[in-house]
């Protein structure tokens, strides 16, 4: 018997602006021991299905149809019945480890609570079992860690605690709602490995909700693709990912940036190897390329940035060298805490380095003053990550785009300004009518393109983009990146592109700089560095990125585990 069966499940939300039909007639099943991935972009309703299966929908939602978990009907069930199921028969792992735990209760106690919810277990007995569970999910020194508060643990460790809470009572069904989206890619690989191992050990069925095709290829046995509340395609993971039938699935898979990997078994690097490159070196490899001018557009030399003072100072950057030349795109990659965003802010002049120098268009930012400094700044365009916060909601789209003009070209007539706004809107492929709208009325992808338009309005020589597409759906991301590439080809500006997504950087940048904890691990052309990395860290980073091809991913996973085992041995 299936562990989860939904039949024509539907969910409607009543909001201030009317009723929204988030889920419309979804029928799926999960068998014991198998993993079903529920895939879709934002608004597809996949998370709503997951919450409905637990009876955890918010107060303004009404569910219809049927969802049967281990023989128990969940839709319309009374709260007491649902409580018996939650945490024992079916449990859930959520997306945001930062907020998923009670900040004022020790983690061991939170796990013990789940245990005691479903059994007459003594406090000490539950505490002991909690320590066991922490061990099972791979937390070192579990007895000591059990007494820690959530804020003392890293994101990955917090997610392990949430998983420990989820498996505490050996559930038959585990629902994971984007369990690794908020985590770094190496941590993601570990967490997925953990989940897979736990599910295999206990024969638990898993409903995995995600938008990441790589994760699907890594983990799932079967896939169901959702679009606007309905399932449009379902099947085995190899069938759906390698031989998609539905148009939407095809488009979705085509839009996913794919990390090109060196064929398995190739060891020696093909191109020139930077001399003396090793873990933690600051080797500066400037590979000559026809397009470069003589002086770099932006040049960070031996830049260090420390926040705070004394022993408790956080060293965000330690003696890094980054140069971007005219017309080239440099990708800045790294995990959280690598300092890549800080480096971008130093280049923008938003953060003053504690030591080292920053040269923008040849002039030292430290000595440039007043009007000269402002003139330098007019050559920069900026696109930041959050589409909501990047535009001031009180201004119309036209005003947002025209802001750099208001700062640097005061004398421009309103007709000329209007013309320029229209030009950049065309360049980013947005309709001119959008100019009079408010940002609130635009989608995320449109907002980022408006942000891009604003960055281009002064014809910048340098564009700094900090995770410009990370908050967007993959199909929208494709459009924005296409537009960006086109514009760079046409206008020839230099680009400093910060991202945590190696596949995107590989497609987009000519040179890549890999950062870790404030230092540069290695630098080089994208092909050399990402296909034939020279440092262990970069190799591990690349190995951890899941690719949307199940067959290939299986191979990569095996290799990766073999490497890790070899290191431990």
């Amino acid at each position: 018997m299936s562990i989860l069966t939904t039949t024509d499940l539907g969910v409607a939300f009543s909001t201030e602006s009317g009723t929204v039909d988030a889920v419309r007639g979804v029928s799926l099943h999960v068998e014991p021991g198998e993993t079903l991935a529920l895939v879709g972009e934002s608004g597809s309703g996949k998370s709503t299905v997951a919450l409905a299966a637990m009876g955890l929908l918010s107060g303004n939602a009404t569910a219809r149809g049927s969802a049967v978990v281990d023989g128990h009907e969940v839709v319309g069930a009374p709260e007491t019945a649902l409580r018996r199921l939650r945490g024992s028969t079916v449990s859930m792992v959520f997306q945001e480890p930062a907020t998923a735990l009670d900040p004022l209760t020790r983690v061991g106690a939170q796990i013990a609570e789940v245990i005691r919810n479903h059994g007459d277990v003594s406090a000490s007995g539950a505490a002991a079992r909690a320590v066991d569970l922490l061990d099972r999910v791979g937390i070192p020194s579990p007895a000591a860690r059990a007494k820690a508060f959530p804020f003392q643990l890293s994101g990955g460790q917090r997610q392990r605690v949430v998983i420990a809470m989820a498996i505490a009572n050996s559930p038959k069904l585990l629902i994971a709602d984007e369990p690794t989206t908020a985590l770094d890619v190496t941590v993601q690989a570990e967490i997925l490995e953990l989940l897979r191992r736990l599910a295999a050990d206990t024969g638990t069925g898993v409903l995995l909700v995600t938008h990441n095709m790589g994760v699907v290829a890594d983990f799932a046995d079967r896939v169901a693709v959702m679009l606007q509340g309905e399932i449009v395609e379902t099947g085995g993971v190899e069938d759906v990912l390698l031989r998609p039938q539905h148009d939407y699935t095809k488009r979705l898979l085509a839009a996913v940036p794919r990390l090109a990997v060196a064929p398995a078994g190739v060891g020696a690097p093909a191109g020139p190897v930077p001399p003396g490159a090793s873990v933690g070196s600051v080797a500066s490899v400037v590979v000559p390329d026809g397009r470069h001018g003589a002086a770099p557009v932006v040049d960070l030399r031996d830049v260090s940035v420390a926040f705070g003072r004394g022993a408790r100072a956080v060293h965000a950057l330690q003696g890094i060298d980054i140069a971007v030349h005219a017309g080239e795109t440099v990708g800045l990659v790294g995990e959280s805490g690598s300092g890549k965003s800080t480096a971008a802010r130093v280049a923008l002049g938003l953060v003053k380095p504690t030591s080292g120098s920053v040269h923008l268009f040849g002039s030292d930012l430290r000595t440039a003053r007043g009007r000269d400094r402002r003139a330098l700044r007019s050559g920069i365009g900026v696109v930041l990550q959050d589409p909501v916060a990047s535009l001031d909601a009180r201004m119309s789209v036209a005003e947002c785009i025209a802001e750099p003009l208001a700062v640097h070209r005061r004398g421009l007539s309103s007709a000329d300004r209007r013309k320029r706004i229209d030009e950049v809107l065309d360049a980013v492929r947005l309709p001119r009518t959008l100019a009079s709208r408010a940002p609130r009325e635009l989608s995320g992808g449109q907002r980022q393109r408006v942000s891009l338009a604003r960055a281009l309005v002064l014809s910048p020589r340098l564009l700094v983009a900090d995770e410009p597409t990370s908050a967007l759906d993959v199909s929208v991301q494709e459009t924005v990146l296409e537009v960006l590439r086109e514009l760079q080809d046409d206008l020839g500006f230099a680009c400093l592109f910060v991202s945590h997504d190696l596949a995107v950087v590989q497609q987009f940048a000519e040179r890549v700089v890999v950062m870790r904890q404030g230092v540069i691990e290695e630098q080089g052309t994208t092909d050399t560095t990402l296909l034939h990395p020279t440092t262990d860290y970069t190799r591990r980073l690349l190995a951890a990125v899941p690719v949307p091809d199940p067959v290939l991913q299986r191979q990569r996973r095996a290799e990766r585990l073999a490497t890790l085992a070899a290191v431990d041995a």
Partner: protein, 297 residues
């Protein structure tokens, strides 16, 4: 007195969720029954105080001892006071002063607090630390204590009273606005502006202030509520306007002794008036805050 809108930067600093469209805010406000009632009450009382005397004219300057201390009757709907003034008429007359002083002082407090708090929040560093220690010191001295000390030194006119009340009240809005400024200062659109060379003046004028408007308006509403309450206290403390002018607080303190001897009409009407108006402003402030989604109280 209860100065209620003291919001320190508790964990989870106040945030104005970017742009609730005006239409959505108005709709939310309309659905908040208490807030709408509050608004209606304010309008009614303002009309009562300013238009009322034309419909119910009374003499509030000359005493008429022959008519003193009469209970409510057809001729004097709420009776008369110790010197013969009609109480209902006095309620209107005093109401004008209470409302005007309260509203003016509330707005003054908000303006000063906004300036102080936004400068402290925007500049940051040691300037912020010093400015906020000054605010902490001001908050530490109970307002009623200061007012009583001032009453022992001087007797201000209406203008002076407004200034004094504003002076003891600007501290609380400054904390609110400072927290707001800190949040807004780090918004992406402000960072982008600074990165491309925009000036501080532009950041403040074009981005920080317009986006703070809802917080400021909510703060101002609560400040007015508090100021009107304070006005009721000041006469009790001996700081109020001089006879024959009066305000509700004055009526209350003048009638205090009378209350014990059963002449309820001397204190119940002004007391209820104060409670009603302050309640109404608080309800409207609450409603505005929910409508704009301002957190922090």
């Amino acid at each position: 007195m209860s100065a209620v809108q003291i919001a320190p930067e508790a964990p989870g600093t106040p945030v104005v969720v970017a742009s609730t469209g005006w239409r959505l805010a108005v709709r939310r406000f309309r659905h908040n029954t208490l807030a709408v009632i509050g608004l209606v009450v304010i309008v009614v009382i303002v009309l009562f105080c300013f238009v009322g005397p034309f419909l119910y004219p009374t003499d509030q300057t000359h005493t008429q001892l022959s008519q003193a201390n009469l209970g409510p009757s057809a001729a004097h709907w709420l009776g008369t006071d110790a010197v013969g003034h009609d109480v209902l008429g006095r309620l209107m007359y005093g109401g004008k002063v209470s409302l005007m002083v309260g509203i003016a002082a509330g707005i003054l407090a908000t303006v000063v607090g906004t300036l102080w708090g936004s400068v402290a929040g925007y500049v940051g560093g040691w300037v912020d630390a010093v400015m906020m220690r000054v605010v902490d010191a001001g908050i530490a001295i109970p307002a009623l204590f200061i007012l009583l000390v001032i009453s022992a030194i001087t007797t201000p006119g209406v203008g002076g009273l407004i200034v004094i009340l504003g002076f003891v009240s600007w501290l609380v809005p400054s904390r609110l606005i400072r927290a707001e400024t800190l949040t807004l200062k780090n918004r992406d659109y402000v960072l982008t502006l600074r990165a491309i060379g925009g000036s501080h003046a532009r950041a403040i004028g074009k981005h920080l202030l317009p986006n703070s408007v809802s917080t400021i308006v909510v703060a101002a509403t609560f400040q007015v509520a508090d100021a009107i309450l304070l006005v009721a206290y000041v006469s009790y403390l001996g700081l109020g306007v001089q006879a024959p002018a009066t305000d509700w607080g004055g009526m209350l303190s003048a009638g205090l002794t009378a209350a014990y001897s059963g002449r309820w009409w001397l204190i119940v009407p002004p007391g209820l008036a104060v409670i009603l108006v302050v309640c109404a402003f608080n309800a409207v402030g609450d409603g505005l805050r929910d409508a704009f989604d301002v957190r922090g109280r």
